[in-house]
Symmetry: C2
Subunit: 347 residues, 2 copies
Amino acid sequence: MGRRGRVLPSQRVRMADVAEAAGVSRATVSRVLARDPAVVEATAAIVRDAIERLGYRPNRAAQALMGASRTLGVIFGEPPDRASALLLRGINEAATSEGYALTVAIATDLDGEELRRGLNTMVEQSAAAVMVLPATAVNAQVLAAADVPFPIISTTDLGPDSPCSVAALDELGAVDVVVGHLQEIGRSRILHIGARHETLVSQFRRDGWQTRVDQADLFEMADEWSARGGCDALHRAVARGARPDAVFAASDEMALGAMYAAAELGLRVPGDLAVAGFGGLPVTEFYGPGLTTVATSPQERGALAVQECVRRLSEPDGPPSYRLLAGELVVRRSSVPGGDSPGPVGP
Amino acid sequence: MGRRGRVLPSQRVRMADVAEAAGVSRATVSRVLARDPAVVEATAAIVRDAIERLGYRPNRAAQALMGASRTLGVIFGEPPDRASALLLRGINEAATSEGYALTVAIATDLDGEELRRGLNTMVEQSAAAVMVLPATAVNAQVLAAADVPFPIISTTDLGPDSPCSVAALDELGAVDVVVGHLQEIGRSRILHIGARHETLVSQFRRDGWQTRVDQADLFEMADEWSARGGCDALHRAVARGARPDAVFAASDEMALGAMYAAAELGLRVPGDLAVAGFGGLPVTEFYGPGLTTVATSPQERGALAVQECVRRLSEPDGPPSYRLLAGELVVRRSSVPGGDSPGPVGP
DNA sequence: CTGTTAGCGCTTTCAA
DNA sequence: TTGAAAGCGCTAACAG
């Protein structure tokens, strides 16, 4: 008698429709979709033709119910910047080409509650694997303790012993390169402006700086991971007498803010104060006189994360892998002696 | 005999497990989950307790298979900037609080192919409704012609007659406010720098400008929607003799690039050249001497879009709604006469 | 107020 | 090489 009280009979073309149109069974259609070589080419062609004609799209929910799901999860963290948008781009492109759909969640709180909820969402969505973007220390613990039926790939370095795979930036190496550069041009009082220290990347950046510059009075904590934060931080540092001859900010935006503050303080960049940031998106070429920074490729990182999802899925018993991408130093006028701004842009 | 040749027997706690633990039927558990008031509180409490104890998470795929799905789709377009990251934030927050999960796709090409694929993905994922971010004219056609089983909400203005709901920015109004401001401070040769004219927002911004400034020689097309694009465009405009006394750029980043070019050309901002952008994220306070712009709230727009999804879902026969959000003029030194930069930041 | 039952659209044995 | 049939985990009549 068919769909009993079905309120809203699905209008969608189903596999059964395709099967009927092609004069085969549903099983055969399913096999064609799965590229099962057992199906003889002639039959397959007829089926594909029917699929095409009817505009059939398989129902992922039904597929997921049965076997392996074809969706990957992404859990975003702070900050909501362009880099995260690019990371999503990279992930999407790779995922699409591998035939995966994407489902997302966001976790920005400090106690791991949102991450826990996000992971729950992912199990509800039957994600096959999930990628977690910048994490806090608390989140790292949540991840390590998570009882979930899928592999987790972190795009923040969680260390080689984490149960999660990592596809991250080599933070320490990258910081070493910028700070080293600042020292090479002769700066010895390099102020580090950090923020949101509960995030792992923030800690990495400070740790990297500390390896080369071990002076507590040259660290200044900004209130937020932004230009405003960087601006206020430099003002505070100078007010308390820090007298830096260079600034290494934990983000490019903070570096921009610091340059603004420098202008307000009458300090020339780079003459009186060399400035470097971290991130390296194209726009930084126009930050101040041109900002020295470390370029990282969020898109590449995203693609790498997806690759790792695919690998973990194909070798379910393989160990989590640990891969770090190198950042690339980009030297611009904010740290080239003699590159002082002649022009009128600035506060 | 149970699960016959099941290769990977699901380890997950199922509704049946909860039902057994609570000593009720699956139907009752289902009702508790759906907050069906028919279930007496005492029973519900027992069930909730069992759910909690077993760590049960419903399987969305199975739910979707039956009735209404609880996932919303988001299709992103250009550009991959911070605004899109914020929009996702707003959407996520609203969606989560409404109990929806999110699935995403990206469509950035010019011929609508990716949009079509994205919509297919959404059908496959059984999205209940989908939100489409900045669109091109081609995409608008694809959307209008789309044969999909869910309502579409556009965060770009597709006009009041579109079959899609719109929850967008009042582009024309916002542009009118900025350009009007430039005129009020006495500028009469306002150059507009636009880019990627295949996108609707780009067209809106030019149209808005054209209403107030109708001089073809004061329009300059940038190669890209970026600071580099804005910088090169101003150089080109000046080289061909445009002699503007103000710039209205279609994006804040392009405005930043224009200010950089101005410095290279020896033009003071705002003395020789007032500059205004469009977007208004906090960082623009630090673009040049502080950038005049129109602030828009991507997060709010995202929340509005989700609201509209929910409404369309609850009144399936209601008409698509058409709602425009106002932008807010933010005046900063780049357009305040006498606000010229004394400082050293700039090329 | 709660249980029984019949599928949702698909994959996967198993048999032919 | 293909088809028949048994579910995957859940919801929604319908009956009690």
